[in-house]
């Protein structure tokens, strides 16, 4: 083995306290970044996942003219011919006034968001039906599913309760109908349809006076990475229509923009943490250099050049960086695996969407390794400045 590397290793391993301290500094720096990533990126991805699963799909098709007048069958069939597409479903949105009598009291709620869904197609393109906490999903055209928060606002409405709903149609007329509550939906973190009323799309079309029209189509893909490709293919296939097709990143941009900058800020804090671990390495290595002053003098006296001393201490930085990056990455991965396997969530909130971002994992490990080397430069330089005679006088 190269003698300078051997010496660097021995000097470091014989000072176990310093070695452990320096390695811990690197490890904690990496761990902070991994934990930040798992929690905040996991939360971001979970929100994207839920928006995609419950509302927008991987591609959201709308129309410049507010409503799509092409038939459900035509568009759904067009999408479902594409192998990447898992399912496509029309959606229609409006708002309603609801009133119901509960325990002899009349409770009224206004401006409640209403979502019209095609129950048969929706189950292929959305997982909204999986959030049913009580009862069932849409059974027929006379039933509705209440979001958990709406049910609470209506005095804890239950499955089987009857309610009256008023929707203003396209000509400004009030359309009132009575519905039976078929189910109540509740999603972790409330990202689903918890604040909405879900009903059959054809019923909503009737009430709004928009027969055969849809507000949007949500398209779910088997492989979300193909979203852009499918979107472009769709737009090219309907050049004469005024369709707007957006990937989840585009359609949810407004909701996600603030979050994205928050994550950038948190990441920045993580990297500052890593920087402070570099300062810890500088301090520990300065202690190592001070502790080895006599040895440095002896080495210089038997012919070691300043460059040799510099290399020995840079090797030490590399060893600290390599072990720290290894341990830190292993600990970070351990935490990531734990978070993924346990579908980590905080206080029954949205379960984190944990992914192994290998690019980021490798990048973090390499960055901390490089920082450890960088941090060792100053102590190494100081070591080269010791004069042999003076260094050897040190006891």
């Amino acid at each position: 083995m190269e003698y300078r590397l051997r010496l660097a290793k021995r000097m470091l391993f014989n000072k176990k306290g310093s070695l452990i301290g320096a390695v811990l500094a690197v490890t904690i720096g990496i761990l902070v970044i991994h934990v930040n990533f798992v929690i905040f990126q996991g939360l971001f991805d979970a929100i994207v996942r839920d928006i995609s699963n419950y509302r927008n799909g991987d591609i959201l098709v709308t129309d410049e003219a507010d409503y799509i007048d092409k038939s459900d069958l035509a568009l759904v069939n067009w999408f479902e011919r594409i192998p990447f597409v898992q399912g496509a479903t029309p959606r229609l949105s409006s708002s309603a006034e609801i009133n119901m009598t509960k325990n002899g009291n009349l409770i009224e709620e206004t401006r409640v968001p209403v979502v019209g869904v095609d129950p048969l197609r929706d189950v292929k393109a959305s997982t909204a039906h999986e959030t049913v906490a009580e009862g069932t999903y849409i059974l027929n055209r006379n039933s509705v599913v209440l979001g958990n928060n709406v049910a609470t606002d209506l005095g804890n409405a239950q499955v089987g309760d009857s309610l009256k709903m008023l929707i203003v149609d396209r000509s400004g007329e009030d359309q009132i109908r009575r519905f039976t509550v078929a189910g109540i939906v509740k999603s972790p973190g409330g990202q689903g349809l918890d604040y909405s009323v879900v009903m059959h799309i054809d019923t909503l079309r009737d009430m709004m006076g928009r027969s055969g029209e849809s507000g949007s189509f949500m398209v779910k893909l088997n492989d979300p990475t193909k979203a852009f490709e499918v979107k472009e293919f769709f737009l090219a296939a309907f050049p004469n229509d005024d369709f707007i097709a957006e990937t989840i990143e585009e359609s949810a941009e407004e909701q996600l923009a603030g979050f994205r900058s928050g994550i950038a800020m948190i990441n920045l804090i993580g990297y500052f943490g890593m920087m402070s671990s570099a300062f810890a390495i500088v301090t520990i290595q300065m202690m190592l250099v001070n502790g080895k002053t006599r040895e440095i003098g002896v080495m210089r006296s038997i012919g070691a050049k300043r460059k040799d001393i510099l290399i020995i201490f840079i090797f030490q930085g590399m060893i600290i960086g390599a072990i720290g990056a290894g341990v830190g990455t292993a600990a970070g991965l351990g935490y990531t695996i734990y978070a993924k396997e346990t579908k980590m969530s905080f206080m029954n909130s949205i379960p984190l969407e944990v992914n192994y971002n290998w690019e980021k994992i490798i990048q973090t490990a390499l960055l901390s390794f490089s920082l450890a080397i960088l941090a060792s430069l100053y102590p190494s330089y100081r070591a080269t400045k010791l004069l042999p005679v003076e260094a050897m006088r040190t006891v």
Binding site: Y3, R300, S301, I302, G303, K305, R306, K307, D308, M392
Partner: protein, 225 residues
């Protein structure tokens, strides 16, 4: 050469125009009282420090003109050091300590064979894999001798090599140095305040108040005065 430490009122003249020459293969003692400048002189000869004034010629080379890298290479190839406290690197084994100057020189060819041979001469072949801090003071000093000789330097410099040893071990070390000097035709320059331990030597240089005198102190009435 002259060496002055400090500045202004704190100036100390450690060497005062000291001048002498030593021939190849000579076994030379540098003697003098404590603080006379012996070690300073050895540091100048060993290129561990630079004189304030004057020059040090080794094998015809004016060493004061060499830059730091060349001085390091010169120390590595031409000079061998034996210190009072052996100054072994405690992180390395006995064998690794002896090998170190050769590894620094980058000529590893027969290094291990040579190191083992030297350790056999200093009777430490059974200790080669021991950590340097796990052997006795006498053994450490013998390892230091082997380390000082591994690159076959033309000059071996020893600073109080027996200063830290008992009389029996001192004799072993002195005999060892003398036999090595004869065997390898090397110049030995030894700083000591115990010249009697060394018996007959080729030359004695006495240092008094930074000045150098060739011969024993008794030969110089001005020193005694």
């Amino acid at each position: 050469m002259t060496k002055i430490y400090g500045m202004g009122e704190n100036k100390v003249k450690a060497l005062d125009d000291a001048s002498f020459s030593i021939e190849k293969g000579e076994f030379v003692l540098i003697v003098g009282s404590s603080g006379s400048g012996k070690s300073t002189l050895l540091n100048m000869i060993g290129l561990l420090d630079r004189p304030t004034k004057g020059k040090v010629f080794i094998d015809g080379t004016d060493t004061t003109k060499l830059n730091d890298n060349k001085i390091s290479a010169f120390r590595n190839k031409k000079l061998g050091f034996i210190f009072q406290f052996s100054n072994l690197l405690t992180d390395l084994t006995v064998l690794e300590n002896v090998l170190l100057p050769r590894q620094i020189a980058g000529t590893n060819g027969s290094a291990e064979k040579d190191a083992r041979e030297l350790l056999k001469i200093v009777e430490l072949e059974s200790q080669i894999n021991k950590r340097a801090n796990k052997i006795s003071g006498g053994q450490a000093q013998r390892v230091a001798i082997a380390r000082g000789l591994i690159n076959r330097p033309s000059i071996v410099l020893a600073d109080e090599p027996t200063g830290n040893l008992d009389s029996v071990t001192s004799k072993i070390i002195v005999d060892l140095m003398k036999s090595m000097a004869k065997k390898l035709n090397q110049t030995f320059i030894i700083v000591t305040h115990e010249p009697d331990h060394f018996g007959d030597v080729d030359k004695i240089i006495t240092i008094k108040d930074g000045k150098a005198f060739e011969g024993e102190p008794l030969a110089h009435p001005e020193i005694i005065a």
